[in-house]
Amino acid sequence: MQETIQVIAFIAFTIMTLLPALLLVLSRNLFHSALYLLASLFGVAGLMVLLVAPFLAAIQVLVYMGAIGILIIFGVMLTRGMMKMDHIFNNQQAAAAITAVVLFIALVLTLSPLVDEMDIDPLEKLNVDFTTIDEPPDVGYETVREIGRVIADRNGFVLPFEVASILLTAAMIGAIVVAREDEA
Protein backbone atom coordinates (compact mmCIF):
# COMPACT_ATOMS: atom_id res chain seq x y z
CA MET A 1 0.00 0.00 0.00
CA GLN A 2 2.73 2.40 0.95
CA GLU A 3 4.71 1.44 -2.13
CA THR A 4 1.75 2.14 -4.37
CA ILE A 5 1.30 5.57 -2.84
CA GLN A 6 4.99 6.28 -3.36
CA VAL A 7 4.83 5.27 -7.00
CA ILE A 8 1.70 7.36 -7.57
CA ALA A 9 3.32 10.34 -5.85
CA PHE A 10 6.47 9.91 -7.93
CA ILE A 11 4.51 9.84 -11.18
CA ALA A 12 2.42 12.83 -10.12
CA PHE A 13 5.46 14.92 -9.19
CA THR A 14 7.28 13.90 -12.35
CA ILE A 15 4.38 15.10 -14.49
CA MET A 16 4.18 18.26 -12.37
CA THR A 17 7.86 18.89 -13.10
CA LEU A 18 8.24 17.94 -16.76
CA LEU A 19 4.95 19.06 -18.31
CA PRO A 20 5.17 22.72 -17.22
CA ALA A 21 8.85 22.72 -18.20
CA LEU A 22 7.94 21.62 -21.71
CA LEU A 23 5.14 24.18 -21.91
CA LEU A 24 7.57 26.82 -20.66
CA VAL A 25 9.99 26.44 -23.54
CA LEU A 26 7.21 26.23 -26.11
CA SER A 27 4.92 28.98 -24.86
CA ARG A 28 4.31 32.09 -26.86
CA ASN A 29 3.42 34.23 -23.89
CA LEU A 30 6.37 35.05 -21.64
CA PHE A 31 4.22 35.58 -18.56
CA HIS A 32 2.72 32.13 -19.01
CA SER A 33 6.27 30.80 -19.19
CA ALA A 34 7.06 32.40 -15.84
CA LEU A 35 3.99 30.77 -14.29
CA TYR A 36 4.93 27.41 -15.80
CA LEU A 37 8.34 27.85 -14.20
CA LEU A 38 6.69 28.21 -10.80
CA ALA A 39 4.71 25.02 -11.40
CA SER A 40 7.81 23.12 -12.45
CA LEU A 41 9.72 24.27 -9.38
CA PHE A 42 6.86 23.01 -7.24
CA GLY A 43 7.18 19.61 -8.87
CA VAL A 44 10.89 19.57 -8.05
CA ALA A 45 10.07 20.38 -4.43
CA GLY A 46 7.69 17.42 -4.38
CA LEU A 47 10.42 15.13 -5.70
CA MET A 48 12.68 16.31 -2.91
CA VAL A 49 10.05 15.40 -0.34
CA LEU A 50 9.95 11.90 -1.83
CA LEU A 51 13.73 11.72 -1.50
CA VAL A 52 13.59 12.45 2.26
CA ALA A 53 14.96 15.98 1.93
CA PRO A 54 12.25 18.09 3.57
CA PHE A 55 14.57 20.98 4.38
CA LEU A 56 15.55 21.27 0.73
CA ALA A 57 11.92 21.06 -0.34
CA ALA A 58 11.01 23.93 1.98
CA ILE A 59 14.01 25.98 0.81
CA GLN A 60 13.04 25.25 -2.79
CA VAL A 61 9.55 26.62 -2.26
CA LEU A 62 10.71 29.62 -0.25
CA VAL A 63 13.75 30.63 -2.28
CA TYR A 64 13.23 29.27 -5.76
CA MET A 65 9.49 29.72 -6.09
CA GLY A 66 9.07 32.59 -3.67
CA ALA A 67 12.10 34.69 -4.57
CA ILE A 68 13.59 33.67 -7.92
CA GLY A 69 10.24 32.94 -9.52
CA ILE A 70 8.84 36.29 -8.41
CA LEU A 71 12.05 37.98 -9.54
CA ILE A 72 11.63 36.48 -12.98
CA ILE A 73 8.03 37.69 -13.09
CA PHE A 74 9.29 41.16 -12.18
CA GLY A 75 11.83 40.91 -14.97
CA VAL A 76 9.15 39.86 -17.44
CA MET A 77 6.98 42.80 -16.49
CA LEU A 78 9.76 45.38 -16.46
CA THR A 79 11.00 44.44 -19.93
CA ARG A 80 7.75 44.51 -21.79
CA GLY A 81 6.58 47.32 -23.99
CA MET A 82 7.93 47.38 -27.46
CA MET A 83 8.65 43.69 -27.85
CA LYS A 84 6.37 41.64 -30.02
CA MET A 85 6.38 37.94 -29.28
CA ASP A 86 5.70 36.81 -32.82
CA HIS A 87 8.83 34.76 -33.40
CA ILE A 88 9.79 33.19 -30.12
CA PHE A 89 12.39 30.80 -31.55
CA ASN A 90 15.58 31.91 -33.21
CA ASN A 91 16.91 30.44 -36.41
CA GLN A 92 18.82 27.60 -34.74
CA GLN A 93 15.72 26.03 -33.24
CA ALA A 94 15.98 22.77 -35.18
CA ALA A 95 19.61 22.24 -34.21
CA ALA A 96 18.72 23.00 -30.60
CA ALA A 97 15.94 20.40 -30.64
CA ILE A 98 18.26 17.79 -32.14
CA THR A 99 20.92 18.65 -29.55
CA ALA A 100 18.49 18.31 -26.68
CA VAL A 101 17.12 14.97 -27.90
CA VAL A 102 20.59 13.54 -28.58
CA LEU A 103 21.79 14.69 -25.16
CA PHE A 104 18.79 13.05 -23.49
CA ILE A 105 19.35 9.78 -25.31
CA ALA A 106 23.03 9.85 -24.40
CA LEU A 107 22.29 10.48 -20.73
CA VAL A 108 19.62 7.81 -20.55
CA LEU A 109 21.80 5.23 -22.26
CA THR A 110 24.75 5.99 -20.02
CA LEU A 111 22.66 5.41 -16.94
CA SER A 112 20.74 2.47 -18.20
CA PRO A 113 20.93 -0.87 -16.44
CA LEU A 114 21.36 -2.42 -19.86
CA VAL A 115 24.83 -0.95 -20.05
CA ASP A 116 25.93 -3.40 -17.36
CA GLU A 117 24.94 -6.29 -19.55
CA MET A 118 26.80 -4.86 -22.50
CA ASP A 119 30.08 -5.01 -20.57
CA ILE A 120 31.29 -1.54 -21.33
CA ASP A 121 34.64 -1.08 -19.62
CA PRO A 122 34.49 2.45 -18.13
CA LEU A 123 31.47 1.60 -15.98
CA GLU A 124 33.10 -1.56 -14.72
CA LYS A 125 36.20 0.32 -13.77
CA LEU A 126 34.12 2.64 -11.65
CA ASN A 127 33.15 -0.38 -9.54
CA VAL A 128 29.88 1.27 -8.63
CA ASP A 129 26.57 -0.42 -9.27
CA PHE A 130 24.31 2.55 -8.78
CA THR A 131 22.03 1.82 -11.69
CA THR A 132 20.40 -1.17 -10.05
CA ILE A 133 19.79 0.19 -6.56
CA ASP A 134 16.16 -0.39 -5.82
CA GLU A 135 15.79 -0.35 -2.06
CA PRO A 136 17.64 2.53 -0.45
CA PRO A 137 18.50 2.16 3.22
CA ASP A 138 16.35 4.05 5.66
CA VAL A 139 17.30 7.54 6.71
CA GLY A 140 17.38 6.96 10.44
CA TYR A 141 17.88 10.50 11.63
CA GLU A 142 16.18 13.84 11.30
CA THR A 143 17.70 15.52 8.28
CA VAL A 144 16.63 19.04 9.23
CA ARG A 145 18.31 18.80 12.63
CA GLU A 146 21.41 17.29 11.10
CA ILE A 147 21.68 20.05 8.49
CA GLY A 148 21.29 22.64 11.22
CA ARG A 149 24.01 20.99 13.26
CA VAL A 150 26.44 20.58 10.41
CA ILE A 151 26.32 24.12 9.02
CA ALA A 152 27.31 25.53 12.40
CA ASP A 153 29.87 22.88 13.26
CA ARG A 154 33.54 23.86 13.14
CA ASN A 155 34.40 20.53 11.57
CA GLY A 156 31.37 20.75 9.36
CA PHE A 157 30.24 23.30 6.84
CA VAL A 158 30.42 26.56 8.74
CA LEU A 159 33.05 28.01 6.43
CA PRO A 160 31.13 27.31 3.20
CA PHE A 161 28.03 28.63 4.92
CA GLU A 162 29.69 31.96 5.70
CA VAL A 163 31.19 32.16 2.23
CA ALA A 164 27.73 31.56 0.77
CA SER A 165 26.44 34.47 2.84
CA ILE A 166 29.19 36.70 1.43
CA LEU A 167 28.34 35.48 -2.07
CA LEU A 168 24.69 36.40 -1.63
CA THR A 169 25.59 39.83 -0.25
CA ALA A 170 27.93 40.46 -3.17
CA ALA A 171 25.27 39.33 -5.65
CA MET A 172 22.71 41.60 -4.04
CA ILE A 173 25.01 44.64 -4.13
CA GLY A 174 26.04 43.82 -7.69
CA ALA A 175 22.46 43.49 -8.85
CA ILE A 176 21.52 46.79 -7.28
CA VAL A 177 24.47 48.57 -8.87
CA VAL A 178 23.85 47.05 -12.30
CA ALA A 179 20.14 47.74 -12.37
CA ARG A 180 20.33 51.21 -10.86
CA GLU A 181 19.24 54.21 -12.87
CA ASP A 182 22.08 56.50 -13.80
CA GLU A 183 21.90 59.74 -11.88
CA ALA A 184 22.63 61.95 -14.83
Binding site: E3, Q6, V7, F10, T17, L18, A21, V25, L30, S33, A34, L37, V44, L47, M48, L51, A53, F55, I59, Q60, V63, Y64, A67, I68, L71, I72, F74, G75, T79, M83, H87, I88, N90, A96, A97, T99, A100, L103, L107, V108, L111, F130, T132, I133, D134, E135, P136, V139, I147, V150, F157, A164, L167, L168, A171, G174, A175, I176, V178, A179
Partner: protein
Protein backbone atom coordinates in the same frame (compact mmCIF):
# COMPACT_ATOMS: atom_id res chain seq x y z
CA UNK B 1 10.07 1.01 -4.76
CA UNK B 2 11.37 3.60 -7.16
CA UNK B 3 14.81 2.82 -8.58
CA UNK B 4 17.51 5.46 -8.66
CA UNK B 5 17.44 5.23 -12.45
CA UNK B 6 13.95 6.77 -12.52
CA UNK B 7 15.07 9.91 -10.69
CA UNK B 8 18.10 10.22 -12.94
CA UNK B 9 15.92 9.98 -16.05
CA UNK B 10 13.59 12.68 -14.71
CA UNK B 11 16.56 14.93 -14.00
CA UNK B 12 18.03 14.23 -17.45
CA UNK B 13 14.72 15.08 -19.13
CA UNK B 14 14.43 18.33 -17.19
CA UNK B 15 18.02 19.19 -18.08
CA UNK B 16 17.46 18.57 -21.77
CA UNK B 17 14.30 20.67 -21.76
CA UNK B 18 16.37 23.44 -20.18
CA UNK B 19 19.06 23.01 -22.86
CA UNK B 20 16.44 23.40 -25.56
CA UNK B 21 15.07 26.49 -23.85
CA UNK B 22 18.50 28.10 -23.66
CA UNK B 23 19.49 27.33 -27.22
CA UNK B 24 16.24 27.98 -29.05
CA UNK B 25 14.56 30.97 -27.44
CA UNK B 26 15.20 34.59 -28.43
CA UNK B 27 14.07 36.37 -25.31
CA UNK B 28 16.84 36.74 -22.70
CA UNK B 29 14.48 36.10 -19.78
CA UNK B 30 13.29 32.87 -21.42
CA UNK B 31 16.95 31.85 -21.70
CA UNK B 32 17.38 32.56 -17.98
CA UNK B 33 14.36 30.38 -17.25
CA UNK B 34 16.02 27.56 -19.19
CA UNK B 35 19.13 27.97 -17.06
CA UNK B 36 16.97 27.69 -13.93
CA UNK B 37 15.52 24.42 -15.25
CA UNK B 38 19.02 23.04 -15.76
CA UNK B 39 20.03 23.99 -12.23
CA UNK B 40 16.93 22.31 -10.84
CA UNK B 41 17.81 19.16 -12.74
CA UNK B 42 21.25 19.14 -11.14
CA UNK B 43 19.69 19.58 -7.70
CA UNK B 44 17.39 16.60 -8.28
CA UNK B 45 20.43 14.56 -9.31
CA UNK B 46 22.37 15.52 -6.22
CA UNK B 47 19.56 14.71 -3.80
CA UNK B 48 18.77 11.42 -5.56
CA UNK B 49 22.38 10.29 -5.37
CA UNK B 50 22.55 11.33 -1.74
CA UNK B 51 19.44 9.32 -0.93
CA UNK B 52 20.49 6.16 -2.72
CA UNK B 53 24.24 6.12 -2.16
CA UNK B 54 25.16 7.83 1.13
CA UNK B 55 22.03 8.58 3.16
CA UNK B 56 23.95 8.37 6.42
CA UNK B 57 26.11 11.39 5.56
CA UNK B 58 24.24 14.70 5.31
CA UNK B 59 26.87 16.28 3.06
CA UNK B 60 24.88 15.49 -0.08
CA UNK B 61 21.96 17.62 0.99
CA UNK B 62 24.27 20.43 2.09
CA UNK B 63 25.89 20.33 -1.35
CA UNK B 64 22.45 20.65 -2.94
CA UNK B 65 21.62 23.57 -0.65
CA UNK B 66 24.77 25.39 -1.75
CA UNK B 67 23.88 24.79 -5.40
CA UNK B 68 20.55 26.43 -4.65
CA UNK B 69 22.32 29.42 -3.08
CA UNK B 70 24.53 29.88 -6.14
CA UNK B 71 21.50 29.57 -8.41
CA UNK B 72 19.73 32.32 -6.48
CA UNK B 73 22.72 34.66 -6.74
CA UNK B 74 23.08 33.98 -10.44
CA UNK B 75 19.40 34.56 -11.15
CA UNK B 76 19.43 37.89 -9.34
CA UNK B 77 22.48 39.21 -11.16
CA UNK B 78 21.26 37.85 -14.51
CA UNK B 79 17.93 39.59 -14.22
CA UNK B 80 19.61 42.84 -13.16
CA UNK B 81 21.71 42.63 -16.31
CA UNK B 82 18.65 42.00 -18.47
CA UNK B 83 16.89 45.01 -16.96
CA UNK B 84 19.93 47.22 -17.52
CA UNK B 85 20.17 46.06 -21.13
CA UNK B 86 16.50 46.74 -21.68
CA UNK B 87 16.90 50.23 -20.31
CA UNK B 88 19.72 50.98 -22.74
CA UNK B 89 18.71 49.15 -25.89
CA UNK B 90 14.92 48.84 -25.43
CA UNK B 91 15.09 45.18 -26.41
CA UNK B 92 15.75 41.85 -24.72
CA UNK B 93 16.00 39.68 -27.81
CA UNK B 94 19.34 37.96 -27.63
CA UNK B 95 20.05 38.44 -31.33
CA UNK B 96 19.74 42.22 -31.14
CA UNK B 97 22.19 42.59 -28.25
CA UNK B 98 25.18 42.48 -30.57
CA UNK B 99 27.30 45.56 -29.88
CA UNK B 100 30.38 43.47 -29.12
CA UNK B 101 29.89 41.16 -32.06
CA UNK B 102 32.47 41.25 -34.83
Amino acid sequence: MIPLYAYLVVAAALFCIGVYGVLARRNAIAILMGVELMLNASIINLVAFWRYMTPENISGQVFAAFVLVVAAAEAAVGLALVIAIYRNRRTVQAEEINLLKW
